[in-house]
């Protein structure tokens, strides 16, 4: 894969995935909270004007991802909560100076990562990604490298909202079970929908490293969904 990594990726690179996500959310009508969501920029404008409900709306929107991310940097839930609270204080202090050159999201997560790093307590984070873990176990392939058993397509049931509702808790659990660095990247890229450039910026990692972590993380989420729900989808 060295060839592909050396070639500079086209700018439109992140589009296909974002497109998929957007298409999916449009197909589904059970996300009123998302569809009715007030844009960050409007909430920020209200926050600057001193509107408490705008602040609470932003906290509600981003707290789960902030906590997930913080938890990968610090050794306990309690410290993670402190870091997140500290992040929101940073937002309140800085909101008048925030010029919107980056998105609010990028700014917010950058504050979080800075605060988390400055606690200086961490270090279960140094475990490297095992580069030999494949996206799909070798036992699923025959000697020629082809699938040993046919793969069951998911797409027909994926339109079923009931199925989606069943998936969410399992997916959250799987997300929380990802190795730290993979979780950081999956949360920012796939939960928050940030671009790979912004994610590299926030986490201070290279584009190639980011993509490897994303690939490991996503592949693992897929295989956990398959293990949980795959059999019933024939």
């Amino acid at each position: 894969m060295s060839i592909a990594l050396l070639a500079s990726p086209p700018r439109v690179g992140t589009r296909p995935v974002r497109g998929v996500v957007n298409d999916a959310s449009m197909r589904w009508n059970d996300r009123p909270r998302v569809q009715a969501m007030e844009p960050d920029t409007e909430l920020l404008a209200r926050l600057r004007a001193g509107d408490e409900s705008a602040f609470l709306a932003l906290v509600t929107r981003y707290n789960p991802s902030l906590l997930r991310l913080a938890r990968t940097f610090v050794p306990s839930d309690a410290v993670a909560e402190e870091v997140v609270q500290d992040t929101w204080i940073g937002v309140l202090r800085g909101v008048d100076r925030f010029e919107g050159r980056s998105s609010f999201k990028t700014w917010l997560f950058r504050i979080l990562v800075n605060r988390a790093r400055s606690t200086g307590v961490r270090e279960h984070r140094t475990i490297p990604v095992d580069p030999t873990v494949p996206a799909v176990g070798a036992d699923r392939f025959d000697a020629s490298g082809a699938w040993a058993e046919p793969l069951v397509p998911w797409e027909s049931d994926a339109d079923d909202r009931v199925v989606a509702a069943t998936w969410a808790p399992r997916l959250r659990q799987a997300l929380d079970g990802l190795p730290d660095r993979q979780r950081d990247v999956v949360v920012l890229r796939d939960v928050e929908g940030m671009s790979s450039e912004d994610v590299c910026d926030v986490l201070d990692i290279s584009e190639g490293n980011q993509r490897v972590l994303l690939h490991r993380g996503r592949s693992r989420l897929r295989s956990e969904l398959e293990a949980e729900f795959g059999a019933g989808r024939r």
Binding site: P16, P64, I89, R222
Partner: protein
């Protein structure tokens, strides 16, 4: 397990699954993209796999925040009000 692609080899399924994220991010070279897509056209299993990855990504993006707990709501309300008191200009 990054896959080393040689120029003329056909991709096998085991390599294709390792290239999915690069493909979706548009990070494959044009030639590798053609080989990837060429493989998919002849392989219903890898086509199903790619679709499963897309569903996984889409579902991950659909995870909605839970509502704040009443305690958290109170805590952040206090935080906001304390900040307003200390920083009345804002």
């Amino acid at each position: 397990m990054r896959v080393l692609l040689r120029r003329r080899d056909q991709l096998v399924c085991q390599q294709v699954v390792e290239l999915v994220t690069d493909y979706l991010d548009g990070a494959l070279s044009r030639r590798d993209t053609r080989r990837f897509e060429g493989h998919l056209r002849g392989c219903p299993n890898c086509t199903a796999y790619l679709e499963q990855m897309r569903v996984t990504i889409a579902e991950t993006g659909r995870l909605t925040p839970e509502d704040l707990s009443p305690e958290a709501r109170e805590e952040f309300t206090d935080l906001f009000r304390a900040w307003q008191r200390d920083d009345p200009d804002s």
